[in-house]
Amino acid sequence: MQTHAAKRVEIIIEAPMERRLTEALHKAGVTGYTVLPVLGGTGRSGTWSREGQVGRAGGMVAVICLIRPDRLDGLLDAAFAVVERHIGVVSVTDCQVLRAERF
């Protein structure tokens, strides 16, 4: 099976910031992404859990984008402008995708 090199960008961010991040991604031309709920976790800013939350303030979400390597810098610039001062993690990993024209 033919596979193609791509970049997988995973952004864990505070739930109230989700809309701002996805809007910034759209503006940067990144129209494909997946938003996943985060069950819980811990980090330098403390612990969070999805359980029992009645508001979104205590929660986090994961926004995952798969893109062509040449579009990575544009995405990271757009994402960084939103997440720079907020709690969260941004990571980039190499991956392989089928159907390269979709990315």
């Binding site: 505070e14 910031m17 029992g52 009645v54």
Partner: protein, 325 residues
């Protein structure tokens, strides 16, 4: 004094407080007891709908006068003014910087709708009626405190990240829309509408509130457990001193408006409570440099349990004393 102690003891041994205590104890003991996110959300939707609907139906049954408008203005002034009191206290009692103090102060101007619901339940248990429009006062008190808190931070040279979308999110957050929407439906349909769905929103109300408070106990307990070292003695003192101070402002406002005993107690409870839904979300966006562990632990882990267990009976006793009710 004996009456106050009896009321406090009765409140502490009520099913809703014991449910909260169970959740709190389970979380502190690291039990795996938990309420799934979707279930907690459904319980909160039920409570908001029921309390809003009953408030609207109450207004329809008893009619409306200028007191509603004045109560709304009083709520707005309390919400915008209390952050200044809280900020001054925080700066005097703790070592918080302007940004964290401003963020915390915003929580204490805004309100906790669950504390409000618990107070209405206590009043109902005592057979004390209250003005139905206090639901609308609760809704209007959510947002002005945020503006006041951000102004306090900006005045001290702190940076805020304000953008147009944040106001839409604050003013149209789901809790406010549902509360006011249900209030409007209750008002439009009146006692007849209430009678149609009474078996759903009146009879099961306390049972649902028990389950919801079990969840709130779990959330508060987890919060306290995970934030060791965050809460200093000064912050702890603030968390239990600020509610009665806020309640005094609420008492003055309630008396000035000529509210009933129940209305005064609800106004005191609103002024005494601290937000843990609308304001934390707004602070996450507008004041990312503020430490969320401080404001969430204070409002959810200290002030909420205080109001629930001791605060509400205290406010009821004080209002009775002053109004002679």
């Amino acid at each position: 004094m004996g009456d106050i102690l009896n009321l406090a003891a009765g409140n502490l041994l009520s099913p809703i407080i014991l449910s909260f205590a169970l959740g709190l104890a389970a979380a502190l003991a690291r039990s795996d007891l938990s309420v799934p996110e979707a279930a907690a959300k459904a319980l909160s939707l039920y409570l908001l709908f029921a309390i809003g609907f009953k408030g609207g139906a109450g207004v329809a049954a008893h009619g409306l006068d200028g007191t509603l408008l004045l109560a709304l203005v009083a709520g707005l002034v309390l919400s915008a003014g209390l952050p200044f009191v809280a900020y001054a206290l925080l700066r005097a009692m703790t070592r918080l910087g302007p940004v964290d103090a401003g963020a915390v102060a915003g929580h204490y101007g805004s309100i906790s709708i669950v504390t409000f619901v618990a107070a209405t339940s206590v009043l109902a248990g005592q057979g004390i009626p209250a003005e139905g429009f206090m639901v609308a006062v609760a809704a209007i008190m959510e947002a002005p405190a945020i503006l006041a808190a951000l102004w306090l931070v900006m005045r001290r040279g702190g940076q805020t990240e304000m953008e147009s979308g944040i106001w839409r999110e604050i003013l149209l957050n789901g809790s406010i829309v549902l509360l006011l929407g249900a209030f409007a439906i209750g008002w439009i349909t009146g006692p007849g509408g209430l009678a149609e769905i009474e078996s759903f929103i009146v009879a099961p109300f306390k049972g649902v509130l028990c389950l919801f408070l079990l969840d709130m106990g779990l959330v508060a307990g987890r919060n306290l457990r995970d934030s060791r070292g965050v809460i200093t003695p000064g912050l702890l003192a603030f968390g239990v001193l600020m509610p009665p101070i806020g309640a005094l402002f609420g008492l003055a406002a309630g008396l000035a408006l000529g509210l009933s005993l129940g209305g005064v107690v609800l106004m005191m409870t609103l002024a005494a409570s601290a937000s843990y839904i609308a304001v934390p979300a707004a602070m996450r966006v507008a004041l990312p440099q503020a430490n969320p562990s401080i404001y969430l632990t204070l409002s959810l882990g200290i002030t909420f349990p205080f109001n629930l267990t001791l605060g509400i009976p205290l406010y009821l006793a004080a209002a009775r004393l002053v109004t002679g009710g």
